[in-house]
Symmetry: C2
Subunit: 320 residues, 2 copies
């Protein structure tokens, strides 16, 4: 009896690297896939031709399966789907799921389709429309988030669907992976930890900030505006709070805020402006302690999970 997530994606270990805009390019995705996990290119708002190139680069750098993450609300989404239908990456994960009609379309080309969901109803709906697996993402995750934590969402989604559930949000080590399995998952997706993979091309100052971060490092902005985003607290997140107040007072619109936010993720992640840029990160950033090659991260987590499982019978003393 093998692991269903490994079998589905033809990978060695049930660890997915979360798709991260401006962060997870072909280089990181290939490194994760070469390490036995599933690397995922974060398409973000990539123009179709750039996405096509990234997929080609990933194929040059790994012979193992990899994935592409699409964010359904981005303006290039339809053009990106056209690229994928042609380039046929082995796996597509879908963020900000608005509709499920794209699932059968991608599956028709032999692509495994995995929606990232934050609620039970959407998990059920995605399974009904053919999803091969579900990433259930808790609100401790980085970037755009829902409202239910991994501790609660994982068991609820696992009970609601029959396809394999991959837990995301708050997972950065072997104990987190083991806990996710206890809660019903058969795999995990991690973004934040892989930001500090050696092969990740983000600016060194971002990696340094991640490694330094403690348990109160992240904040959620734009909750009132309706699209909550988790990122590391800095000057920009403070500005967001101000903009949000203005929004609530009716002094600016959601579109105004969107305009102000434009380019901020790139400014942090690529240019290293850790003060004025947006450093999307999950709460698990507090558990990221060093930069390591992606393969070492994966091997370490698997070894930790196995050791934790072996120790558990001794630790699980439920009586005096």
């Amino acid at each position: 009896m093998g692991n269903r997530v490994c079998e589905l994606f033809d990978i060695d270990h049930p660890i997915l690297q979360g798709g991260m805009t401006w962060v997870s390019d072909a280089g990181l995705a290939a490194a994760v896939s070469n390490g036995g996990g599933l690397g995922i290119i974060g398409a973000g708002a990539m123009p179709p031709e750039v996405l096509r190139e990234e997929i080609a680069k990933a194929r040059e750098q790994t012979e193992r399966p990899f994935g592409v993450n699409l964010i359904m609300i981005n303006p290039n989404f339809n053009a990106q789907v056209e690229v994928l239908l042609e380039a046929r990456p082995p796996v597509v994960t879908l963020g900000a799921v608005q509709s499920t009609s794209v699932i059968p379309e991608l599956k028709g080309q032999g692509i495994k389709v995995v929606p990232v969901v934050a609620a039970v109803a959407m998990a059920r709906r995605a399974e009904k429309h053919g999803a091969d697996a579900i990433v259930a993402e808790g609100e401790e995750a980085g970037g755009h988030i829902g409202g239910t934590t991994t501790m609660v969402l994982t068991p609820l989604v696992s009970r609601a669907v029959d396809v394999p559930v991959i837990a995301a949000g708050g997972i950065a080590d072997g104990a987190g992976l083991l806990a996710a399995f206890v809660l019903g998952a058969e795999g995990v997706q991690m973004g934040t930890r892989f930001v500090c993979a050696r092969e990740c091309s983000v600016h060194e100052d971002v990696k340094r900030r991640f490694i330094k971060a403690g348990d109160r490092a992240t904040v959620v902005t734009a909750r009132a505006v309706g699209y909550p985003v988790r990122a590391i607290k800095n000057k920009l997140s403070g500005l967001y709070d101000e903009w949000e107040k203005e929004y609530l007072k009716g002094e600016c619109t959601a579109e105004d805020i969107e305009k102000l936010a434009l380019g901020k993720l790139r400014e942090a992640m690529c240019e290293g402006n850790v003060r004025d840029g947006s450093m999307m990160a999950g709460q698990s950033v507090a558990m990221v302690d060093e930069e390591q090659p992606a393969a070492e991260i994966i091997a370490g987590i698997i070894a930790e999970a196995e050791a934790a499982a072996a120790e558990l019978p001794d630790r699980l003393t439920l009586r005096r």
Copy 2:
């Protein structure tokens, strides 16, 4: 080698019932303690004479250890401490921890003192000032909450202190308990699940609402005001959102909102006004499916955790 939480409190199973204002009275606390866990009277803003009576009632109804939860920011706090120094309940848990000077004072009377914390720094500080154990409470919990989830807070606090860590927030079944142990806890605290204990005196309509609740049932209000509270979404939580907007516009003060909120918890929990009252509940309310005697809840969770642990070696397949 026994469980440290059981040994510390002299209880059979490492399950604490979270102190809940207007909900966990002597009757519920005694039922939980008689079931082998640690029942806890939620003192809330009880006048000292009422608290004294509740402690006496608990002693009449159980010979097992029990606790009292104090909320440090309530106006009766100092008078309540005087009652405890005299009545000497076996355990005191401290919510909304503002200072740690009360810890040695209570310990001087042979009382075990357990602060409920939402951040690593406070856990360290509480241990330094003599805390016997730490409840690390994730933001998925009900009532007043912090900003870090159980999945992340539990391992971080477990690494930061040497005293036993009791995980709280998002835990309502045996898998949740097992996951908490995997993450480093040696016990769990559950509030929401015990609201639906048969011996809990809350209004039947509240229990019905809890049993019906799904994964999107709770909301957090008063975040902008600075004291976030998680409760079940209803007409009142909608009003809170309006008041919060007025607060941000400078049209009302935090004190005005506090006045509007006065008595709302009691109105829901005791009188059954599930529309206009405040039904504080954690996200785990989605996992509460029936009313059961407290002893049955505890026995069921222990049996589930043991079964889940026994199954884990088969489920933890980390390879194809």
